[in-house]
């Protein structure tokens, strides 16, 4: 036996000690969940952990001063969030998309019910909350979004199926401008797009229409199906049915749109990821974006002068204008500083930041009392404000399933549709393929949620 083995730390013991230390290091984050790190010593400032997109330093300092606590801002990353939730060590406040995130997280008991806080608040009164905040509600008994406890709140919102258009391009094409009050039919909308597209040698020089709601192709089809009088999801939200006459009509519309190649679609996605750069470069006649898009347009006087806002088109006889985003914040069920999180809610959604946001045109304020602050100082802002006000009564929550993430269902669409468009597969066959793949996913999720 070599002499070294006689030392106090032989090779086997060294390996065993290393394994123990490594295991401890790997499991420590999990144990940290039971340690309240924020409200340590008496007199020390509380620290609120916020998972969000980056904040300007000035805004962070202002918030810390107003709230009397430190803000630890972690950059939003879905993989990190999942790891933190799974490790029982979540942030105190998380940025989220109300329309698509709530059912999935709430059904898994990961979100804190904020009803008690709302009931006791003088700043965020339920009676003052815009209807779009209902996308943050989820009823665990009926498994329905839109009713039940509130699990978060939108910082602002838009009715995402409305659209913006360029008057100069309409005039150049000799076409009549869409009405400010009467919605177009989806077929007429598509036809306008086809008439305004400009091509050269296989390339689209000017897109006629960019039809794509914020939630991806799934929400697009959901909205159109609802407008035709149907529902993509079954009553219990455990299955989809693309084969119903209404859903099939919506699917046919989308396939026709993608095949006609008049704007970004699952076949030819927009390289910029959103409409503004193309719209600003005079290469897009109609952009299917809600009121928030006016915030960017308003920043460019030349483009604002030739831009107008229009109501959401209709596929059938139902006028429906949903919100597929409602970006805001939620508090995880296992957050360590819920009271501090609520103080942040009151400051951010009801205080100075909310009032400042309301004046920018980057979305409709989530408090009705702030709506009067929306910009109306230019003809552009006045027109978009009036169109938006008339659209509000047509808002409704289109619930998504708690059994699968909207992203997962969108992945199915982006896998199936491009081939279908290229091969000219009949809509009925495409619907069958979508039903089969999506229902398999939903069934797996249902088994887990119970």
């Amino acid at each position: 036996m070599p002499d070294a083995s006689r030392g106090s730390l032989d090779r086997r013991r060294f390996l065993a000690v290393s394994a123990g230390a490594a295991l401890t290091a790997a499991t420590l984050p999990g144990c940290a969940a039971s340690v309240d790190s924020g409200s340590g010593a008496k007199g020390a400032k509380e620290t609120l952990t916020l998972m969000d997109v980056a904040w300007p330093k000035k805004d962070k300092q202002k918030a810390e001063q107003a709230l009397g606590m430190n803000l630890d801002i972690i950059t939003y990353d879905v993989t990190k969030l999942n790891a933190m939730l799974a490790g029982d060590n979540p942030p105190d406040v998380v940025r989220g998309v109300g329309a698509t995130d709530v059912p999935y997280f709430a059904a898994r008991h990961l979100m804190a019910d904020l009803d008690t806080y709302f009931a006791e608040s003088d700043v965020l009164k339920p009676s003052d909350l815009a209807a779009a905040n209902d996308v943050w509600r989820y009823d665990g008994t009926t498994r329905k979004q839109g009713t039940g406890p509130r699990y978060g709140m939108a910082k602002d919102y838009s009715q995402d199926c409305m659209f913006w258009y360029r008057t100069d391009m309409f005039e150049a094409a000799g076409l009549e401008l869409p009405s400010d009050t009467e919605p177009l039919s989806c077929d007429a909308w598509l036809d306008l797009g086809k008439r305004m597209v400009r091509r050269r040698l296989g390339k689209v020089k000017v897109y006629g229409l960019s039809a794509g709601t914020l939630g991806g192709p799934l929400t697009q089809v959901m909205w159109m199906t609802a407008s035709a009088g149907g529902s993509l999801f079954a009553e219990d939200l455990a299955t989809v049915d693309f084969s119903s006459p209404e859903a099939l009509k919506a699917l046919r519309w989308y396939l026709d749109y993608a095949k006609s190649d008049i704007g970004p679609s699952v076949v030819n996605p927009n390289p910029d990821g959103w409409d503004w750069p193309t719209y600003q470069a005079n290469r897009m006649a109609m952009a299917n974006d809600g009121y928030w898009f006016g915030g960017t347009i308003g920043g460019d006087a030349k483009i604002a002068e030739v831009s107008r806002f229009a109501p959401a088109p209709q596929l059938g006889s139902h006028r429906i204008s949903p919100c597929f985003s409602g970006t805001g914040y939620w508090v995880p069920q296992r957050a360590k500083h819920k009271d501090a999180a609520w103080r942040f809610f009151e400051y951010y959604f009801g205080g100075t930041p909310a009032q400042d946001r309301a004046t920018t045109g980057w979305g409709i304020p989530s408090l009705n009392s702030l709506r009067s602050k929306m910009p109306r100082d230019t003809a552009f802002h006045q027109q978009s404000y009036e169109v938006q006000q008339r659209e509000l009564p047509y808002f409704s929550v289109l619930p998504v399933s708690p059994y699968a993430q909207v992203d997962a269902l969108n992945v199915v669409l982006t896998k199936v549709l491009p081939d279908a468009v290229k091969s000219g597969t009949a809509a009925g066959k495409v619907a069958d393929a979508l039903n089969s793949r999506m229902n398999e996913q939903l069934a797996r999720g249902k088994e887990l949620v119970g």
């Binding site: 036996m1 070599p2 002499d3 070294a4 006689r6 030392g7 730390l9 060294f14 390996l15 290393s18 394994a19 230390a21 490594a22 295991l23 290091a25 790997a26 990353d77 879905v78 993989t79 999942n82 939730l85 799974a86 997280f105 898994r108 008991h109 990961l110 050269r200 040698l201 296989g202 390339k203 689209v204 020089k205 991806g216 699952v266 076949v267 030819n268 996605p269 927009n270 390289p271 990821g273 290469r283 699968a404 993430q405 992203d407 997962a408 969108n410 992945v411 669409l413 982006t414 896998k415 491009p418 081939d419 290229k422 996913q441 797996r444 999720g445 088994e447 887990l448 949620v449 119970g450």
Partner: protein
């Protein structure tokens, strides 16, 4: 008084008695040197070993456990499903197709990258003017972060406003949807080969290590450039090339580049990756973070791990006889040679 006490401390430990605590000063010095060496080994190996256990062994074990469940990472109702996930991976047409695409992608890009890097290294090993500038320029793409290169490629190959179609436009040729199927795979291959600077720099180091006398002797003996290259340079460079082959294969099998040249290079954008670029890691990522199938995705990773191991083993087996080491990699003589040994 016991016999142990009478016999002294060494009597209780036959080993200690055998080696002797009190040896000659020379023995003590050797022992002290060995103890110091052992200590140094533990000090240097310790941090790595801790990291390896915490960041590799523990996650691997955790993923192995997950692979036998139907966990979505968040729901409390996950249950043990045995080998069901593995059965699904090995029968799922999507998973098998992405594994096949990954294999094909590796078979195409690894040789291309190595050949391109070697050719550049041979060129830049010539006594030409501004050789340093050329070496820097060619190595530069390997230094640029993949995100940056991917962004540039996206701008070049955009269907409606990219310069690739702009060039075709000049000649009156119809533009192509480079970033969509079926052309997206060519853009991906170009992007991968574009980073051959790494191979070039390592090959260059290998080339400079080849004794000039050997090449001079070959020239004196009348060997052509090609003969010198194939019979002297390549054999002497073979360990370097083999090292690159192995590391490139492993890296390419785990490539994540398709996401970077997709429309939305974030976890949410995995769905937008064209089918021809749906490599296994993209599929794994989709299963984890879009579909929330932690169990199934973990099984996919273990299958990929087995695949990587099998391919590496196969390459090692096939390399026998074509890789020449100037020093025997597995020396039979274990006794260290010291100055003065004949």
């Amino acid at each position: 008084m016991s016999t142990d006490q009478l016999a002294g401390p060494d009597a209780r430990s036959p080993m200690r008695a055998a080696t002797g605590r009190t040896g000659s000063p020379r023995t003590r010095r050797i022992r002290s040197l060995r103890a110091r060496r052992t200590g140094a080994f533990y000090v240097f190996a310790g941090p790595w070993l801790l990291g390896f256990l915490a960041m590799t062994v523990f996650p691997l074990g955790y993923a192995l456990w997950l692979s036998f469940t139907n966990s979505d990472g968040l729901s409390p109702n996950a249950r043990f499903v045995g080998l069901a996930n593995y059965r699904e991976v090995l029968t799922d047409p999507d998973a098998l197709a992405s594994l096949g695409r990954t294999g094909l992608f590796t078979v195409i890009t690894v040789p291309l990258t190595i050949v391109a890097g070697l050719l550049l290294a041979v060129l830049l090993n010539q006594p030409i003017r501004a050789r340093g500038v050329f070496r820097t320029l060619i190595y530069l793409p390997a230094v640029v972060p993949p995100v940056g290169s991917a962004l540039v490629f996206k701008l070049i190959f955009d269907r409606d406003s990219g310069s690739a179609n702009g060039l075709l436009d000049i000649f009156g040729v119809n533009g192509l949807s480079w970033l969509a199927d079926p052309y997206a795979r060519y853009v991906l291959i170009s992007l991968t080969v574009w980073g051959c600077g790494n191979v070039m720099i390592i090959s260059l180091a290998g080339l400079q290590d080849i004794p000039a006398e050997l090449l001079d002797a070959a020239r004196v003996d009348g060997a052509s450039w090609w003969q010198s290259f194939t019979r002297i340079t390549l054999p002497l460079l073979s360990p370097v090339l083999f090292f690159q082959l192995i590391t490139q294969i492993i890296a390419t099998l785990q490539s994540f580049l398709p996401l970077l040249i997709s429309i939305d290079p974030t976890p949410k954008g995995v769905g937008a990756v064209p089918e021809s670029n749906q490599l296994i890691m993209i599929d794994v990522f989709t299963q984890y973070f879009s579909n929330g199938r932690y169990g199934y995705a973990s099984a996919m990773l273990w299958v990929l791990f087995a695949f990587v191991m099998a391919v590496t083993f196969l390459v090692f087996k096939l390399s026998r006889g074509v890789v020449f080491y100037s020093v025997d990699p597995e020396p039979t003589q274990t006794k260290p040679r010291t100055i003065g040994d004949s």
